[in-house]
């Protein structure tokens, strides 16, 4: 396996979608290749950054309106 091919298998690897044989060859390459290991590490960093994007507080105005709607629903339901 060459680096130029290994980089295109990164997602299949992370998703557990490689066949056992492909996975072994992939891991064997990665173990001996600093560049591909760094690339995989960069993808993992990208994943961490993206999950950080989800941390966004609810604006107070919206939270208040939602809670009011929830109380309304509750009073009609409980």
């Amino acid at each position: 396996m060459r680096c130029i091919e290994v980089v295109e298998l990164m997602t299949d690897y992370l998703e557990g979608a490689l066949s056992p044989r492909e996975r072994d060859r992939f891991e064997e390459h990665i173990a001996g290749c600093d560049g591909c290991r760094a690339y995989l590490g960069q993808l993992r960093v990208a994943l961490r950054v993206m999950s950080g994007l989800a941390a966004e507080p609810v604006p107070a105005r919206i939270q208040e309106e939602l809670v009011a709607a929830f109380r309304n629903w509750k009073s009609g339901n409980v």
Binding site: C3, I4, Q42, V49, M50, L53, E56, V58, W73
Partner: protein
């Protein structure tokens, strides 16, 4: 708190649980709505409407999918409807026709003739957290995601921003696991590239 107890708490009108849930899911839902409507204010509207819809229909929710998947589905439906309705979003909509794309995801110039790295990528693992998760880094990744073709954007937001698993995403978007992986691969490669342009 587990998914099942979230659902029970909601059904029993537990306000604390509702506030906690809306706080926890706001970011993922907002990003998801943004992936379709492209405008922050419109996306906020969609999220709010999604919660109102969820409150009204929580008694009918059968719990076959997770609560988060279910609410994501509501956001997608509302955001798609909103996108169709709002003509002022038309410039953004033009991006929505974007295709998945094909070909290599890493510039061929990065490799020498035998297919090995010309210059290997840098290691980011040891960079300080405040750089990796700083405002500027997050903003750049946000911009990179917004610039993706719609078919890639919806997949990467659901998987990597919202953190839904592959089966939930295949179900929500009605696409095969393979198709999802192809889209995810291209999308992640683009985000990595944007990070590399910034971090070096």
């Amino acid at each position: 708190m587990g998914e099942g107890s979230d659902l029970e708490a909601l059904r029993h009108g537990d306000e604390g649980a509702f506030v906690e849930l809306t706080s926890r899911l706001h970011g993922p839902m907002l990003r998801l709505a943004m992936a379709y409507v492209g405008d922050h204010h419109v996306a906020e509207d969609v999220v709010q409407e999604a919660w109102l819809t969820a409150i009204r229909s929580v008694d009918r929710f059968e719990g076959r999918s997770s609560l988060k998947t279910w609410i994501s589905g509501i956001v997608i439906n509302l955001a798609r409807a909103r996108r169709r309705k709002e003509s002022r979003l038309v410039t953004f909509t033009s991006l929505l026709r974007g295709e998945v794309g094909r070909g290599p995801t890493v510039d061929r110039a990065r490799f020498v003739r035998d297919g090995t790295w010309r210059e290997p990528p840098r290691r980011w693992e040891n960079m300080p957290e405040e750089t990796l998760l700083g405002k500027e880094t997050l903003a750049r990744v946000g911009v990179a995601i917004d610039a993706l073709p719609a078919k890639l954007r919806e997949v990467i937001v659901l998987r990597d921003v919202s953190g839904l698993d592959n089966s939930a995403v295949s179900e929500l978007l009605g696409i095969s696991a393979e198709n999802q992986r192809v889209r995810l691969h291209r999308a992640r490669a683009a985000v990595r590239k944007a990070l590399e342009d910034y971090l070096g």
